[in-house]
């Protein structure tokens, strides 16, 4: 199978709803420092079920687009000081096509209460069902050997013998 397109809504630095893609067999993501490249990788990781701690955020709420000023010296926390109401929800959806041509739309939403909601082709499912379908496509979030976050690549080669055993065990 393959990832065809991503749709994000109010995810990290991506304001509003945006379609990103299509992705080919070899797609490169480019842009200046701070543009939002790693945030795109965070969006892909998020929709696959990766926890927020791995996405440079302490909690899910921090993944929602926030355009306003925080702790600016002297300024209060008054939420109204932004020029627009801040979104309280956000989602990422991934359009995926299986080897036999079936279209699967994986969608993970951050609700206004700060929890996750999972949908496949529009139908709400549990996290276990969602993850089960991903595993059928050989997308093993537990092992995560196919996601290399910024700055992590060298550590893969110098990990301890113990860690390497664990990594191989998770994919076996």
């Amino acid at each position: 199978g393959r990832l065809v397109e991503l749709e994000v809504e109010n995810f990290k630095s991506y304001k509003g709803r945006q379609k990103i893609g299509p992705f080919k067999s070899f797609t490169s993501v480019i842009g200046p420092n701070g543009a939002g490249k790693s945030n795109l990788m965070d969006a892909i990781s998020f929709v696959l079920g990766v926890k927020s701690a791995q996405l440079r955020s302490a909690q899910l709420k921090e993944l929602i687009y926030s355009g306003r000023t925080r702790h600016q010296p002297g300024e209060g926390e008054n939420p109204g000081d932004g020029d627009e109401r801040l979104p309280r929800r956000g989602y990422v959806a991934a359009l995926y096509i299986t080897d036999d041509g079936k279209v699967l739309r994986f969608m993970r939403t951050i609700t206004s209460s700060g929890s996750s909601e999972y949908k496949i082709n529009g139908k709400t499912v549990t996290h276990t069902e969602y993850n089960g379908l991903l595993e059928k496509q050989n997308i093993l979030i537990k092992a995560r050997n196919f996601l290399v976050f910024q700055g992590d690549v060298e550590a893969v080669a110098s990990q301890s013998a113990r860690d390497l055993t664990l990594m191989i065990e998770q994919i076996s």
Partner: protein, 163 residues
């Protein structure tokens, strides 16, 4: 469980050397380097660890810690691709893995990706280096739209333009 682990270990161990050679061979060193896995304790790999060894072309053997930044990156990619070959996930997302690589190694990695990508092995590679992203089939360009304080994207299909 034990069997599964052994199967995975032997599969990866068989593949790692060739993948490392593909990533390190050049006109000067057509054979490339050498890489292999070894078990710290042959009886029961579960309780002990698996050690990874990689030697760049024409270099003496050293501990992984003695390798340079760029040499470690290449060794890491070989390991990741070897592990992938056992239980292939449909795609890879790599975030600036080329940061420590010199231009020669960037080109080798780009060629490896180009040769190995396909319908069932998709690569999404974040990079700042032209010698890498110019080899892709398509680009997703991300920029910051200052007026609305948001990231925006545009997609460019490189296959439309002849090399």
């Amino acid at each position: 469980r034990y069997d599964l682990f052994h199967r995975a270990y032997h599969h990866i161990s068989d593949k790692i050397d060739q993948i490392y050679k593909d990533l390190t061979k050049s006109a000067t060193f057509p054979l490339g380097g050498t890489a292999y896995l070894s078990l710290e304790n042959n009886e029961d790999p579960y309780l002990h660890g698996i050690k990874y060894h990689a030697m760049p072309p024409m270099k003496r053997f050293r501990d992984m810690e003695q390798l340079s930044g760029g040499e470690k990156t290449v060794a890491a990619l070989a390991l990741l691709f070897a592990i992938h070959s056992f239980h292939p996930s449909p795609f890879f997302v790599l975030d600036e893995v080329d940061a420590a690589l010199d231009n020669t190694n960037v080109a080798k990695v780009a060629n490896y990706i180009r040769e190995n990508c396909g319908d069932n092995f998709q690569f999404i590679v974040i990079s700042l280096k032209q010698s890498l992203y110019e080899k892709a089939q398509s680009l997703v360009g991300i920029y910051r739209e200052q007026s609305i304080n948001s990231s925006q994207t545009l997609t460019i299909d490189l296959e439309q333009y002849p090399e």
